[in-house]
């Protein structure tokens, strides 16, 4: 510790060195994500060797490649594996970014994407749609719509709570979230236990096994929009974590920026949950883990969370495909992996600076 302090004191470029180090972390994470993406195709029941994979992808992009693979392999890659892999990355990135966004806005490292009831709302919407026997697309849309509606309601109630605005928001999030959960429980109670109840239960557990291009198409736009806006707001989130008064006196309109961050994070959570069900832990654990390796500065943390979330969920999904034939729902696995990992994380050394 002494040594490190000394060298940093003596280097005139200390700040630039730190910034370079953080940027290097982002590059390494991006490389790891690409590696993980490629590996994903070589795992599972129909492993596709790297050479064939690159050939198929090149051919799909219109490059003149003579097929040296089977038609079956091409279908597996394009119709089953690719949408699932893409969706894992998108959902993981979205949940982690939303978690990082909420943690910044609420100045609370315990905040997760569920904090304002986005997941609970989506769960209720999906359960309702499944109960009413609606089509898959409508299940997704209703989940998405209910999720946004729930957060809007929480926001509205939060405005009228006396006292601290942030505490008011979190409290109304807890209230409305638990109301949604009760409503979902009620739907499960009245749902036909032979076919609908298992469907609902399975949806709520969170799974990527049925991922299709349809899901990717539905989710990709709101996700990219949310991610882009959060990444662009990276510096303002930093300022926001200093509290409203300080942020305002530094020239940042705190309520407005907070509303924007909440909107983006909600959009991300809603799109993620509506296509994949409830996948817990990613939004809480990944930002924490990234704080360890990329620091607390949102200029790097937000990007690191996006990449780290993508890597994590993709890796967990690969694991879920590999360990069992039918695939354990990923929502269960993330909890099994996330909880012990989180314990390790919070009991370990904390400070990033000062060695």
């Amino acid at each position: 510790m002494r040594n490190r302090q000394k060298t940093e004191k003596d280097t005139p470029l200390g700040a630039e060195a730190a910034q370079r180090r953080h940027r290097a972390v982002l590059v390494i994470l991006a490389a790891a994500l690409i590696l993980c993406l490629l590996l994903s195709f070589t795992l599972g029941r129909y492993p596709v060797p790297l050479r064939e994979l690159l050939g198929i992808l090149a051919a799909k992009l219109g490059l003149p490649v003579e097929p040296f693979w089977t038609r079956q392999m091409e279908l597996a890659v394009w119709n089953i594996r690719l949408p699932r892999v893409l969706l894992s990355v998108l959902v993981g990135a979205s949940l982690a970014a939303a978690g990082a966004g909420f943690q910044g806005v609420f100045q609370n490292p315990m905040a997760s994407p569920d904090v304002l009831g986005a997941s609970a709302g989506a769960g209720f919407g999906a359960a309702l749609a499944l109960l009413l026997d609606l089509s898959n697309s409508l299940v997704t849309l209703l989940a998405f719509g209910m999720s946004l509606l729930t957060v809007a309601l929480v926001f509205l109630i939060g405005r009228y709570v006396k006292g601290d605005r942030l505490v008011g928001l979190v409290l109304s999030g807890i209230i409305i979230g638990s109301l949604c959960q009760s409503a979902t429980s009620f739907i499960k109670l009245v749902a036909d236990p032979t076919n609908k109840l298992p469907q609902i239960t399975y949806w709520l557990m969170g799974s990527l096994s049925g991922a299709s291009w349809r899901d990717v198409r539905l989710a990709v736009l709101p996700m990219l929009l949310g991610l882009a806006l959060l990444l662009l707001s990276r510096w303002q989130i930093n300022v926001l974590t200093m509290g409203d008064d300080e942020a305002r006196s530094l020239g940042v309109n705190a309520p407005r920026v907070r509303a924007r961050i909440i909107l983006c994070s909600t959009l991300l959570t809603a799109s993620a949950v509506s296509v994949s069900g409830m996948i817990g832990w990613v939004g809480l654990v990944i930002p924490h883990m990234m704080r360890r390796i990329a620091g607390s500065d949102y200029r790097y943390l937000m990007g690191a969370s996006v990449l780290g979330g993508g890597i994590f969920l993709l890796a967990v999904d690969n694991l879920s495909r590999t360990v069992s034939e039918s695939g354990i729902p990923i929502g269960i696995l993330t909890a099994f992996i996330g909880a012990p990992f989180f314990i390790w994380l919070i009991t370990g050394r904390v400070d990033h600076y000062d060695g």
Partner: protein, 258 residues
Amino acid sequence: MTVEVEHLAFAYDEKPVLTDVSFTAREGQFLSILGPNGAGKSTLFRCILGLQTKYTGSVRIGGTDTKTLSPREMAGLVAYIPQSSRPTFNYSVFDIVLMGASRKLSPFRAPSREDNERCRWALEKVGISHLAQRCFHRLSGGEQQLVMIARALMQDAPVLMMDEPTANLDYGNQLLVMRQAKALTKEGYTVIQTTHAPEQSYLFSDRILALSGGRIIQDGPPAEVLTGETVETLYGISVRVVSLENDKMRVCMPINII
């Protein structure tokens, strides 16, 4: 830059907190607002900073009514140095000071290399360059206060508002922070502080504002304001004010205790 407060009044649930407060702080002046707990110091502070806007009367900085200014424009005029800042997350000193650049950045931009340079200048100016890459949480109270001053310099606003800047500091750090603030007034910064320390405000201020029950009971040079009578009115304690070193310093001696 001049700060003019005119007929400012504020009531919380119809209970008056500030009544007809008027004063002017001129460029390069060190103004201390002295008053007991609950006198309305913090509210006055928040009104001047634009954090509280439900007041009547006006606050003008450089002639402009602050109610017409956006947070960004306001931040170009006044920098706030909070009593203690406890960021939730673990930022380096450099990053905290860099936040002073925010008002000049368009919403989706992050600080640039030039901002890094200015940040180094601000750290150098308050003499804490060696702390740049330290974690803010790990600094002592005095060091944290200096970081807040550096951030205000980074912000490049002509008026500095310090909220009880020395309240949590040891004796040495109190004087260090006060001297730093005083030096800034020599460069033309207007410094307004709230304080609980009569003797210290005598030593460093150009003017003292005595606030009691939401009203200004006295406003003038330290030599006029810091009298036994004023201190007794403010704090309800009988003191004898003793002058030392050709009246460069005054000490309050509580009569009933010694």
